[in-house]
Amino acid sequence: MNHWLIAPIVLPLVGGILQTFMGYAPIGLRRTLAIATSVLVLAASVVLLSLANDGSYRVYAFGNWQPPFGIVLVLDRLAALMLVVTSVLAVLAHIFSIGGADEGNRQFHTLFLFQIMGLNVAFLTGDLFNLFVAFEILLIASYGLLMHGGGTSRTVPGLHYAALNIVGSAIFLIALGMIYSVTGTLNMADLAIKIPQVTGENLSLIKAGAMMLLVVFGLKAAILPLCFWLPKAYAKATAPVAALFAIMTKVGVYAIIRVYVLMFGENAGELAFLGMDWLFPLALITLSMGVIGALGADNLKTLIAWQVIISVGTLLAPIALGSEAGLSAALFYLLSTTWTVAGLFLVAEMVAIQRGSAGDRIVTAPKMPHRTLLSVLFMVGAVAAAGLPPLSGFFGKVLILKSVEAGPQMAWLWSVLLVGSFLTLIAYSRAGSILFWRTIDGHIKPPEPMKGVVSVSTGALIGLTVVVVAFAGPINEYTEATAAQLFDTSAYTQILTTPVFGGNN
């Protein structure tokens, strides 16, 4: 048993508990400790990535209970990749927050660290019920973070977000109950073995449970009929929180990959590829809906919130087609889009601060200070998000387009994705040209000077898109290996037979 596996969960937990008791400590001390915790989580994630890169599965069994009897954490390439994406994003968003966004609520850092912990549990767990618990941890932290900063405008989106997700949790529990009543287990590896053996009337119970799980994950990922809560909630959240939330929809995508490739993949007999014929058209409609929303957005943060929905559609379409190349391409795109969108949220906040009363609304306003720096950051982010060469979004989209085999699905995916990218580009050009080029005479109240940490963290997050291009080769090799590992489900189920105690794993 490798004790590194628990580090990305224990570190933010301990850090968060410390912060709870430090509400009245000097803010400098709280900030130092909080950032140190995030950086340690990043370090632990990188260690796990290097461990996972050998392609084997590592298991951490709580209390040394042999799976499937106890709860296990399972580390594989996918989990390690998601951990690193999350912790890089979390460190940079956290650094942005000490520029002033963390004031106004003494427990901001507590909530932020608990949110990271919930995300890490979700990525590492090998048990469906534990996944539910992880969702609840990250949700309760996100309710608090969404309301952070006060102001009456956040109450209504916060209420909608909380109510919707509680209903989502209820559906999750019903689905778990249905699956448990038939299989008698909720361990993912054990389910992967037991689900193909289900026959007769139990088959429809499993089918109903699995489709309800898809609804829950779809709500988290914000696919079309379940996505209307997102733009309001994300656009109203404080910038570092919105940036961290960029990974939240990807948790839904991760859960879909994990559950549907492992348990309802090609080996699942009658239940093979369950729900994927629904997911493909829904993903394309989500993508189109996101583009329409982006074109109609009247402020910058709403535009970027719709970009989150566009990326979810783009991600899920190749995943639904169920090919190894498609999954690898989707993971590459996930890496690029999460960081880009988060960076754009931070840029939008900086623009809003500089523009005084005009805020981030897409209207003409007097010339803003620091226009050159902000416009360059926005342009790099927009180019990466819309998928123009030479930045990472372009490579992600090319890989996705290349991964589809010829046929009607290819025609649909190519046309929707390419037309969608073009229209997204129009939306960004419109927003950018109005914000940065079209100015009117007048004076705005000089804003507070731009803080170093704010511009450095935003620049770093936007700059990651260039880094992803520079290392596109190794990253692509890694995502290909990840996809291959995911499709080899028999290797995953071997964790049931590996002794957790005394072994050298």
């Binding site: 618990v133 609840e136 009456t152 209504v156 109510a163 209820a170 529990l173 019903i174 109950g177 009543s181």
Partner: protein
């Protein structure tokens, strides 16, 4: 017993969903509570309904599954916390917007405006 149990779960869930779709926060909170009751009973039933059986394997032909009870306990704790949070959020909504409508303010059509105002007493 199965029929009665199923009817109870069905009634709780149906009333919960009906209340959830109301436009005021208090019925929504009640709806979420009833829904979570229904879900908890449902989870409990996933271990099969049986009485007077032991929870230990090997000493009797049939056994009662103790795991769903652990799952229900977790679900109750989480559901309770979430409900408490939504209650606070609803109060905050009422305080911020001077209205207990879930959207902050009711969508009033111009023609019905006076009637709506009389009904809500505003």
């Amino acid at each position: 017993m199965e029929v009665l149990f199923a009817l109870v779960i069905g009634t709780l869930t149906a009333s919960g969903v009906y209340l959830l779709l109301r436009a005021r926060t208090f019925p929504v909170v009640m709806g979420l509570t009833l829904l979570s009751y229904g879900v908890n009973l449902f989870l409990f039933a996933s271990g099969r309904l049986s009485t007077a059986q032991q929870a230990i394997l090997g000493t009797a032909d049939n056994y009662s599954d103790p795991l769903p009870q652990a799952l229900v306990l977790t679900a109750i704790v989480i559901g309770f916390a979430m409900t408490a949070f939504v209650v606070v959020l609803s109060l905050r909504n009422l305080a911020d917007n001077d209205d207990d409508h879930v959207d902050g303010c009711p969508p009033v059509k111009p023609a019905n405006r006076t009637q709506e105002q009389e009904e809500t007493g505003k």
